[in-house]
Amino acid sequence: MSRLARQLTSLKKQGRTALIPFITAGDPDPAITVSLMHAMAGAGADVIELGVPFSDPMAEGPVIQRASERAVERGVSLRDCMDMVQEFRQRNVDTPVVLMGYLNPIEVMGYQEFARIAAKSGVDGVLTVDMPPEEAAALKDALSTYKLDPIFLLAPTSTEARIQAVTAMASGFIYYVSLRGVTGAKHIDMAEVSDKIGEIRKYTQLPLAVGFGINDPETAAKVATLADAVVVGSALVKRIEEVGDRNVNDGQKEAIIESVTTFVTSLREAIDKVGVAA
């Protein structure tokens, strides 16, 4: 069993919903990312989603777009992101890490080479936003060779046939996009999320994570009653940006870590107050 599956299964047995915070690697400074990962794990993150910066992040709202732009400006590459995971693993061998990004940097590196380095660095899962299962056979093979979980998205627009196709190919967990829109949008429809999750559960035993549009502890708690895992990205990245978005000094770095720790703690507490998904 992969570190990811082990973690999510064990949480489910304990009756807890997993918390998956997202940050963009290298934002606002490559030197802060590993510290932030440790801070998040310490504050109760069960899985860490690390965004790989890309010049053209088509599925992202303005907050994560800006984070990605800042990291690209600092020259943060896919290889750098994996180096950060490797550094994180020196002091944390338990918290699974999922890389989330776009296909092109992986294409350039080559699927096999990417999967080899990712596995060696301690990456557990790979979510490639613009890689639907129809195009994913070769990448999935490469990831499987190195025992990495390919994470796929489902969305409000996914038909029954697509749910079947995606669940058949995924491992680790399924990431359900809670709304029609980009990351950080503000119109999550809880009834629709509930219905769709019910539909997806008919086809898979895999844990279901829900993300996009979960901006505060209150919403996270509501989603936690439905999902196995709650993903929070833009709201967290926004807190980082509010402290400092360019050339952050040591004081700002500490403030960023403190702000992220406080927010992740508040999400953790809110989620733990409600029961686990049925």
Binding site: S55, M58, Q65, E107, A155
Partner: protein, 398 residues
């Protein structure tokens, strides 16, 4: 036709395909189904052809450029006058087709991206004619370069949204249009302006534009008892080139030349020529040649012509390059400007800066092929929109 690409999932060899986030997969499947249905629907095709004839003014003339031929002293030059279309470029052929599809699919809102503004104007035009809401995304850099087209779009009732992210040009406008589409997918039809994007756009836009090449086939017979030796068209995304090339694709004796923008020169790195100097990758929903860093980040492009300023290219061009059916060459800013002046002074036609790239390469090719040969150059748009750019570059205040 012997040539049957793309396959049913939009692949041209290793290129093309469907690389988008899950939310757009079903909408793209629906679009593909609708397109497959209506492309074979006699009533749809008849309405499309009527609109092209009565609203766009097709067929556009195939003009024997006798003075240019004489001056260049080589192959006989024919210009396909897409600049004479309503709205001044080939773009409207495609927007008419997609708007008819949008109407049949019951969509009540149209969005588009634009670079030079020609596709934005052509989209705003068809939206005005259908009386439906239209939002056009345009990089804030392009808005500065193409103020007249921005105002034209506004006059036509479209909302023009400046895009401030990334390089603030066409690629970023496309990202932003995709973000709008993913948000408003239930009521919105996204009219992509070139033969790029996820399947079925590359094939669909090509099919709507292929009226260009079909007309050339019968028009040329008025002057020449034979097929052309070469077809020349500029390539940004590559829709006017695919429109001209596609009906000739099985005719191997007809050479195809796609002309990319070499900007300040390929060697300087400041250009927009992914086929000439890029490598394969995935962007905007398809696999194709891209301009990118060693880390796979997309890089900014440079061309005097906003319409060619795009780091990718339609996936079918990538395939035609690899299999050798088409040749891809490049023309720099100075050569394009010289060609602009040449055509203006010799034939009294102001070409768009995009099309000037094709003219410039046509001149080289005419000399190379010699007097007994026949070249058709696609004059994809008119140059009125570029007059300010040209004046500014030449230090003239208009």
């Amino acid at each position: 036709m012997a040539y049957k690409l793309p396959d049913d999932r939009g692949h041209f060899g290793p290129y093309g395909g469907l690389f988008v986030a899950e939310t757009l997969m079903h909408p793209l499947t629906e679009l593909n189904e609708a397109y497959e249905k209506y492309r074979q629907d006699a009533e749809f095709q008849a309405e499309f052809m009527d609109d092209l004839r009565l609203y766009v003014g097709r067929p556009s003339p195939l003009y024997p450029a006798k003075r240019l031929t004489e001056k260049w002293g080589g192959a006989r030059i024919y210009l396909k006058r897409e600049d004479l279309n309503h709205t001044g470029a080939h773009k409207v052929n495609n927007t008419i087709g997609q708007a008819l599809l949008a109407k049949r699919m019951g969509k009540t809102r149209i969005i588009a991206e634009t670079g030079a503004g020609q596709h934005g104007v052509a989209t705003a035009t068809v939206a005005a004619r259908l009386g439906i809401e239209c939002v056009v995304y345009m990089g804030s850099e392009d808005i500065k370069r193409q103020a007249i087209n921005v105002y034209r779009m506004k006059l036509l009732g479209a909302e023009v949204v400046p895009v401030e992210s990334g390089s603030k040009t066409l690629k970023d406008a496309l990202n932003e249009a995709m973000r709008d589409w993913v948000t408003n997918v239930d009521n919105t039809f996204y009219i992509i302006g070139t033969v790029a994007g996820p399947h079925p756009y590359p094939a669909m836009v090509r099919d709507f534009q292929s009226v260009i090449g079909r007309e050339v086939r019968y028009q040329l017979s008025e002057f020449e008892p034979r097929d052309p030796d070469a077809l020349v068209a500029c390539v940004g995304g590559g829709s006017n080139a695919m429109g001209l090339f596609y009906p000739y694709i099985d005719d191997e004796h007809v050479a195809l030349y796609g002309v990319e923008a070499a900007g300040e020169g390929i060697a300087t790195g400041h250009h927009a020529a992914p086929l000439s100097a890029g490598r394969p990758g995935v962007l905007h929903g398809n696999r194709t040649y891209l301009m990118e860093t060693d880390d796979g980040q997309i890089i900014e492009t440079h061309s005097i012509s906003a319409g060619l300023d795009y780091p990718g290219v339609g996936p079918e061009h990538a395939w035609l390059k690899d299999n050798g059916r088409a040749n891809y060459v490049s023309i720099d800013d100075d050569e394009a400007l010289a060609a602009f002046h040449e055509l203006t002074r010799v034939e009294g036609i102001l070409p768009a800066l995009e099309s000037s790239h094709a003219i410039a390469y046509g001149q080289k090719l005419a000399k190379e092929l010699g007097r007994d040969k026949v070249i058709v150059i696609n004059l994809s748009g008119r140059g009125d929109k570029d007059v300010h750019t040209i004046a500014a570059r030449e230090g003239i205040t208009v």
